[in-house]
């Protein structure tokens, strides 16, 4: 399945594609989308879905931005401002964790179906961002924040380091901990997992908490790269994160999917889009091609199953 997608990308990639600066620019673009996709993927593992990831990333970005712009001006850096910056980042992450917690409670305790709970949450959180910002863009952050999304550490872009650590941590949780095992279990068969003594509710709440946390991390990179934040940033990513997860082998009914598969899918999507970008193909055609790839993968999958 992966081989087919790889082949496609090979055909599409021109010579000039294999250059270091091209790869570096890809390394800046990939992480925010990657973090959002991991936030999506972990909920899909339990057979759920989280439509509110982008909205919650936006809200936590806005909260961070408000704390920052209220208390720190980009010009006057004092010793105390480092603490404020840290506080701002924490405030943003706590926001997305709270959203994740509410999602988890709705899904695990009230037993609302994940699509509906997170769809409602998407609308609500989007509304909140509009109410808070009144539709304006908040811009201008201190250097440290800008470093998160644009800095280089030993020639490696900072965002890719954050993403690598986050992906490794998620992979560790999924493969080496009881929580991870239980997440897969719920996805395969929730009833069986309940009767084998797993606290399904707690596991689901943890899942949506982690999903919230990762969208919060994505928001950090997002506000840093754009040096601004507003309602609706990145909302077109939503469906693409599902696409990436499925392309990476995550089952839509839950129970299957690995972080490594997702990384591979992300790399393919990024390479295809950068390659097409170099060919000066419209971004919209790229979106269409992603859709086509998704269908092809699913068709190949289904043909493989019936044989």
């Amino acid at each position: 399945m992966m081989a087919a997608a790889f082949l496609l990308m090979w055909i599409l990639s021109p010579r000039e594609f294999f250059r270091i600066d091209n790869f570096q620019s890809m390394a800046f673009q990939l992480p925010e989308f990657g973090l959002l996709s991991t936030a999506m993927m972990i909920t899909m593992l339990t057979g759920g879905i989280n439509l509110s990831i982008i909205a919650s990333a936006n809200l936590s970005g806005i909260v961070t931005a408000i704390v920052l712009t209220r208390f720190v001006s980009p010009e006057a850096m004092t010793a105390g401002s480092n603490v404020t910056i840290l506080l701002a980042i924490c405030a943003g992450l706590v926001t997305s964790l709270v959203i994740g917690l509410v999602n988890g409670l709705l899904i695990a305790v009230v037993e609302v179906s994940p699509i509906l709970a997170t769809l409602g949450m998407l609308t609500l959180v989007n509304g909140l961002t509009i109410v808070i910002t009144k539709g304006y863009v908040i811009a201008g952050f201190p250097d440290f924040i800008r470093f998160i999304g644009n800095g280089l550490v030993a020639g490696i872009p900072m965002p890719i380091i954050i993403f690598a650590v986050a992906a490794a941590a998620l992979s560790l949780v999924l493969n080496r901990t009881t929580l991870g095992f239980n997440i897969y279990m719920i996805g395969s068969n929730a009833t069986a997992s309940r009767f084998s003594g797993v606290n399904n509710k707690a596991v689901l709440i943890w899942t949506y908490l982690i999903s919230g946390l990762y969208s919060g991390l994505a928001s950090l990179i997002m506000i840093s790269r754009f040096n601004s934040v507003a309602t609706g940033y990145g909302s077109s990513y939503l469906l693409i994160t599902i696409l990436a997860s499925v392309l990476g082998g995550t089952s839509t009914v839950g129970g299957f999917g690995r972080v490594s598969g997702l990384l591979l899918a992300l790399a393919i999507l990024q390479i295809v889009s950068s390659g097409l970008n170099l060919l000066r193909v419209s971004a919209f055609l790229t979106i269409a091609i992603w859709g086509l790839i998704l269908i092809l993968v699913m068709v190949v999958n289904s043909l493989g199953k019936t044989r």
Binding site: V112, L119, L124
Partner: protein, 332 residues
């Protein structure tokens, strides 16, 4: 006993919510409760309402469709381009747009049936394909210069009344389309074998297959119908706005699904009624309108809709859970 059964229906609760909301809005701003306002709402929300009918049928059949916004855009854009280049009439506009809608819907159905791809994945993919290709082919250009007969058609009223200030108002022809389609869908769902088969398929796909239903034909109908509705909605959008833009509809798909779900349709299939869907659209319409009339900043609109969705799905999930528990207890 019968009254209790009626009270326990989801639609009844929804209706009560609508009435309560209506009373509150009227108390604050009496201009809510005027025929003029109602005709206005019924016109501007017929676009959402027509999508909602198609989405309802997809949800009943146990699937979900995200691509309808893109299908409507393709139909709308193609119809407009042909109309401007070659002329035509309102009938040909609908014919072109709906034809394209049905064709694209059929592609969805084929992918879903033939390759057994989950409906949400299929339609996410086709949404991106349809929308991407359209935007590339059209260059993202907006079209403003619609023919005058097309503009004239949009302001036709079936009957006209005059308000106290001498402003004419009345039942728009656009609303008539919506009401007609509601009736068609209602008859299909309630009085035909096809309708029964759709509920059966949504209830249990494998049971429906074993009962001898032709699943392929049903899927073709469901997604073809959704495509047809999208085609109609595309023309309606053009009539309402009189501007055709490739990006004006895409992105609203979740709002429509929210309205249908608010109307009591379940995402797991097999349940949902036309009456409920109309109520769901009504609730959303009244809320948007009410906020404006109560002079609440429009910034709060999404917050309110989000809260209403969360509360309604929360309450109905909670009730389902309690009922299940009760039936288990009764069995013991």
């Amino acid at each position: 006993m019968r009254i209790r059964a009626i009270l326990q229906r989801y639609e009844t609760n929804l209706l009560i919510a609508i009435i309560v909301l209506g009373v509150i809005i009227t108390a604050i701003n009496p201009s809510f409760l005027t025929l003029e306002n109602f005709f206005d709402l019924a016109k501007s929300y017929s676009f959402l309402g027509i999508f909602a009918i198609g989405v309802l049928i997809v949800l009943i059949s146990g699937g979900i469709d995200i691509s309808f916004s893109a299908i409507a855009t393709v139909g709308e854009y193609a119809m407009t381009v042909i109309m401007i280049r070659h002329g035509g009439s309102i009938a040909t506009s609908f014919l072109i747009s709906c034809g394209i809608g049905i064709a694209l819907g059929t592609i969805n159905a084929l992918l879903i049936y033939r390759f057994n791809i989950p409906t949400i994945i299929t339609t996410i993919a086709t949404l991106n394909i349809f929308y991407g290709v359209l935007t590339v082919l059209s260059g993202g250009k907006w079209i403003y210069n619609l023919p005058s007969w097309f503009q004239q058609f949009a302001i036709i009223r079936v009957f006209t009344l005059t308000s106290g200030e001498g402003i004419p108002y009345g039942l728009s022809i656009i609303t008539v389309f919506w009401v007609f389609l509601i009736l068609v869908a209602w008859i299909i769902l309630r009085y035909t074998t096809l309708g029964r088969a759709l509920y059966a398929m949504g209830g249990s796909m494998s049971a429906a297959r074993r009962a001898g239903l032709n699943i392929f034909r049903l899927q073709l109908f469901v997604y073809g119908f959704m495509g047809f509705m999208s085609g109609v909605a595309g023309v309606i959008q053009a009539l309402l706005v009189q501007t055709v833009a490739p990006n004006s509809i895409v992105g609203k798909e979740l709002n429509v699904i929210a309205a249908v779900v608010l109307g009591g349709a379940s995402l797991s299939g097999g349940t949902g009624t036309i009456f409920g869907t109309v109520l769901g659209v009504t609730l959303i319409a009244i809320m948007g309108n009410g906020l404006t009339l109560m002079r609440v900043s429009s910034f709060w609109y999404d917050v309110c809709i989000g809260l209403v969705i969360l509360i309604s799905v929360g309450v109905s999930a909670y009730r389902r859970k309690r009922m299940q528990r009760r039936s288990i207890l009764a069995r013991e």
